[in-house]
């Protein structure tokens, strides 16, 4: 639209603006590297239809749909995080439309590809991995970390980055996968020890691959396509899939009251067709198709989640548990880790030092102090049972969903109690560890 002209003669342009009937409007968190090829492929398959792409990050897209529900102008929501779709579905913002497709199995790695209620559809699969910068690890003489456990080791101190689960739906899935795979207590301990090695917790999920690409950090916990696409763009990076990983689909859903529901359905069907699935294989996109047949034309080394050797220990991901404690887990992570990263890092570093000093010494007193410090770092203010109790989880969800449930306090009250719990424990742990080091 030529705005120079419209500014001088507003009325003139109005006649031309009526051509929206054949436009499908999609709001998406995907980069244009992904949307552009699909837009081109779709528009050449359906020349009479235009795909209008509105880019927003997942959170902004959800807020946008919530704020504008009274007069919706968006046809489709297209993003990675299944949680975001769960939120939209719960609020009745997604339409259940019967979409035709074939050749796509019901599950991938134990995770249902499509929403059983038919409100959103998985079109690509993603795993989570450890991305690392080869120049960085060479310069710092570091081994490759292939498992989550590896990242806990002292040698990685200051070399790791991840994004906050509250800011990135995909990261939340990673966090939840480890919690489900290792159990609540052990899972959180793993995250705290890894976080103690971090130099940053980023706000954007893309901040992590960006930091690894530029060499600001050595290792990043990322969704696979970031690593694969970075590598395809020429950056000196590699991606390792840990054996415990979740394979989850990236989704698309039709918005309730979509202005062009027919066109929206057309686009979803195109995405799920073999033709659409093969677009995913292009180097700038690098996402895993959900149709096993699409892998026939895949480049060599392209990971295939349907193959036997892929992520052998993949867990059964419990979507209900994840959804139940979604906000609580995010809040816990931020309060215990993101906002107190400095304290946590100091404590973990002190413990690592103490352990290095006493690796051989066998000093009972020091080892006891170290064990106590470790326990303080790993301690959680909330048990798994409490984390699934509606009277606590509902503190963190919007009032509109469940106003009747008794709750145990206000979010800020609870967060403040967690915060003082964490700060006190971390500082005490550091003091104990320093004490142990001094016993040398």
């Amino acid at each position: 639209m030529n705005k120079t002209m419209t500014i001088s003669a507003l009325a003139l342009m109005m006649t031309s603006a009526a051509a929206f009937a054949d436009t499908v409007t999609v709001v998406t968190s995907f980069p244009r590297d992904l949307t552009d090829p699909f837009k081109a492929a779709f528009e050449s398959a359906y020349p009479e239809t235009t795909l209008e792409v509105v880019s927003r990050n997942t959170n902004a897209a959800v807020s946008y749909l919530q704020e504008t529900r009274s007069a919706n102008s968006i046809d489709l929501m297209w993003a990675s995080a299944p949680d975001a779709f769960e939120v939209l579905k719960e609020e009745g913002l997604l339409a259940a439309v019967d979409v035709q497709y074939e050749g796509i199995p019901d599950e991938i790695g134990g995770y249902p590809i499509h929403d059983p209620d038919g409100t959103y559809y998985g079109f690509a699969a993603s795993g989570y991995g450890i991305m690392y910068n080869t120049r960085y690890i060479q310069a710092n003489d570091l081994p490759v970390a292939e498992e989550w456990e590896d990242l806990k080791r002292a040698e990685y101190n200051g070399h790791v980055a991840m994004s906050s689960p509250s800011r990135s739906g995909t990261t939340h899935l990673t966090v939840e996968t480890v919690l489900q795979g290792e159990g609540w207590q052990e899972g959180w301990a793993t995250w705290k020890w890894i976080a103690g090695n971090m130099n940053t917790v980023t706000e954007r999920s893309f901040g992590v691959p960006d930091a690894v690409n530029s060499g600001a950090t050595g290792f990043g916990i990322v969704i696979d396509f970031f690593g694969l696409a970075s590598k395809a763009s020429g950056f000196p990076v590699e991606l390792a899939y840990p054996s415990v990983t979740a394979i989850v689909p990236a989704n698309i859903g039709i918005i309730e009251n979509a202005p062009n529901q027919e066109g929206a359905k057309q686009f979803v069907e195109f995405l799920l067709s073999l033709e659409g699935q093969e677009v995913l294989l292009s180097p700038a996109i690098m996402r895993l198709p959900v149709n096993p047949d699409a892998y026939a034309n895949a480049p060599e080394d392209f990971p295939n989640p349907f193959s036997e050797e892929f992520a052998p220990d993949a867990i059964e991901f419990d979507v209900d548990v994840s959804g139940e404690r979604y906000n609580l887990v995010n809040s816990l992570f931020d309060v215990l880790i993101t906002y107190r990263l400095n304290d946590l890092r100091a404590a973990v570093t002190a413990v690592q030092q103490a352990e290095a000093v006493h690796a051989e010494s066998g000093n009972e007193e020091a080892l006891a102090l170290i064990a106590e410090a470790r326990a303080l770092i790993e301690a959680m203010p909330v048990t798994e049972e409490e984390a699934l109790d509606p009277s606590l989880t509902n503190v963190f969800t919007s009032s509109s969903t469940d106003a009747d449930t008794e709750v145990v306090g206000r979010q800020s009250e609870i967060e403040q109690s967690w915060d003082s719990f964490a700060v006190q424990n971390y500082r005490q742990a550091k003091a104990l560890a320093d004490q142990a080091t001094a016993l040398n």
Partner: protein
């Protein structure tokens, strides 16, 4: 003589009639209510709601002060803002002093370059700075390689202070330079006559006289840094107030009122800071008797001083232009990873953006240009009403417009969505909230305080007797404003336009909520899109360079046009 004058209201002190000023004042107030106060109130009133019952409560504020994280964030924000003002002053003062006090070859270039840091698009600035100054950035890689140590430029709050002071020091530079140029020469000569000279005179006479300009700039820097969330977020610093507000407002599905409480506190604190600076400046209205005969006397530098001046200036410029240098390397580089320089150089990224992204450029020019135009119109009008009329409540226009500084862009964006969604425009333009015109209004509201401060400072420097002379010669108020006030304010209005335009051109936080279609998106949004993928980093940087070039060109052109206009004005009657 029309009798209507006799019946007019006589309540005002300067001109006894219900004048155009009153009408403009009311219209501006309505505009600000509709596009700033009400949308923001729509968002902020959540701070007073019980998140479960929806009833009115002050509990949330109690929670805020009971939360240690928030108290620390408050202190951190205060510390970062104050230190940023200090560093911004250290950068701006030598530049302003040297370019206004001495005959210096590079004056024009330095003053122009001094504005460039303001036009660094978000995302790319911090990326570029991290690549240069980060823990494994060029500087630290080289330091580590040759000297075996690193300097933590970008660690934690340091990084925020560094990036903010480099980004915002032009506010001080612009305002301070304008004030310095308006000081009457006799002030300085009187001081010299009484035995004062050099730095001592600068400190005791020149700087105090330039204080209103300096304070205007410093207050802007303080409040902008206090409210800014982009930089801390990009540097992953969470424990400051603005990022805390943002993180809590934008979380999916969370109903945490604390984000709104923090936003409310940000707004209140910023207004308090402004009020304090107003109080401090009261009674320091140093209007020179006459503009035109004024300006500090410039002297030539001795050769040694010249070298020293060039040294200082080049050092400062190298620092403040480093984000652009980093951006340039990124835009022309192939792969840049864990190395002082990119692996190779290419123009490929520019080819990419020229084939894909021309609509961003036009959108940006139109949006930022219109917004800046609205801003200087409103800014001049508000400045005039506040300083030159006795309209009751006139100060509130200033307060309201300035309060926009304190509103995080995302709050304004959400406010617009809440308020204007569902308002159907005529002529098939669609929703008001997704109409591109709303982006212009959002930008204008967000940048109005910049233009307003510049216009206020300019008007304060225009002696009242120059206007009275016109009035007594029969010029109506409108005519006086048009022919006397505005031409004499030209410098300040221009500064306001440039600042508004340049910063609006790279604004993202409000627009990201309001862009309805990719075809309506401005440059900063395009950069944001590119920067979300590994392959797009170079292209995003190239687009960033394009943005800088466009804004610099726009700045240069507007300066030329107004300069030519001024020359034309003074010459036209001379050759009849």
């Amino acid at each position: 003589m029309p009798d209507s004058y006799q019946t007019a209201s006589r309540g005002f002190t300067l001109f006894p009639r219900l004048s155009g000023a009153a009408i403009s004042g009311i219209l501006i107030a309505i505009f600000l209510m509709a596009f700033l106060i009400l949308p923001v109130a729509q968002v902020l009133y959540v701070a007073f709601l019980d998140s479960r019952t929806g009833g009115f409560t002050l509990q949330n504020f109690q929670d805020f002060f009971n939360t240690s994280l928030f108290r620390e964030s408050f202190v951190n924000s205060l510390y970062v803002s104050a230190m940023s003002v200090v560093f911004a002053t250290l950068i701006a003062l030598p530049l302003a002093y040297i370019t206004t006090r001495f005959n210096f070859a590079g004056t024009a270039a330095i003053q122009a370059l001094g504005i460039i840091p303001l036009i660094m698009p978000p995302f790319v600035g911090a990326v570029a700075m991290s690549l240069l100054f980060g823990r494994n950035g060029s500087v630290n890689l080289l330091l580590n390689q040759y000297f075996g140590f690193r300097i933590p430029f970008m660690e934690g709050l340091n990084g925020v202070i560094l990036v903010q002071s480099i980004h915002y020091f032009p506010f001080i530079l612009i305002n301070l330079s304008a004030s310095l140029r308006n000081i009457d020469r006799s002030m300085e000569e009187a001081a010299q006559n009484l035995g004062s000279h050099g730095m001592r005179m600068f400190r005791r006479i020149v700087f105090p006289l330039a204080m209103p300009g300096y304070l205007a700039g410093a207050a802007l820097v303080f409040i902008k840094v206090f409210d800014d969330l982009g930089t801390p977020l990009l540097l992953n610093v969470n424990n400051m107030l603005a990022p805390q507000a943002y993180l809590r407002i934008t979380g999916v599905g969370i109903n945490d009122p604390m984000g709104y409480v923090i936003s409310f506190i940000l707004v209140v604190f910023s207004i308090f800071s402004l009020w304090a600076s107003f109080l401090f400046m009261r009674g320091k209205d140093y209007a020179t008797v006459q503009k035109g005969g004024g300006g500090l006397s410039r002297r030539d530098l001795k050769p040694r001083e010249k070298w020293l001046a060039w040294g200082v200036i080049l050092l400062i410029l190298a620092l403040v232009l480093s984000p652009h240098l980093g951006l340039l390397l990124l835009a022309f580089g192939t792969i840049w990873s864990f190395s002082p320089l990119p692996d190779g150089f290419t123009t490929e990224h520019f080819v990419t953006i020229f084939t894909q992204s021309s609509q961003y450029v036009w959108n940006t020019i139109i949006y930022a240009g219109s917004a800046a135009l609205i801003d200087v119109l409103l800014g001049t009008a508000i400045a005039y009403i506040v300083i030159r009329t006795g309209l009751p409540g006139r100060k509130w226009l200033d307060y309201m417009a300035t309060a926009a500084l304190a509103v995080p862009g995302v709050v304004l964006g959400i406010g617009y969505l809440r308020m204007f969604h569902g308002v159907q425009l005529p002529f098939g333009l669609g929703q008001l909230s997704s109409f591109w015109g709303i982006i212009i209004i959002a930008l204008a509201v967000r940048r109005l305080p910049y233009a307003l401060r510049a216009c206020m400072a300019a008007l304060q420097q225009v002696s009242l007797s120059l206007e009275e002379a016109a009035a007594s010669l029969g010029a109506s108020r409108t005519s006086t404003i048009r022919r006397i006030v505005v031409p004499l304010m030209t410098g300040g209005i221009l500064a306001g336009f440039v600042t508004s335009f340049a910063t609006a051109a790279v604004e993202l936080s409000a627009t990201i909520m309001l862009v309805g279609r990719a075809s309506d998106a401005p440059l900063a949004y395009g950069i944001y899109l590119y920067m979300q993928s590994p392959a797009g980093r170079g292209a995003g940087a190239a687009l960033g360079i394009l943005a800088v070039v466009i804004v610099a060109l726009g700045t240069y052109l507007s300066q030329r046009i107004i300069e030519r206009e001024r020359i034309r004005q003074t010459m036209s009657h001379d050759q009849h």
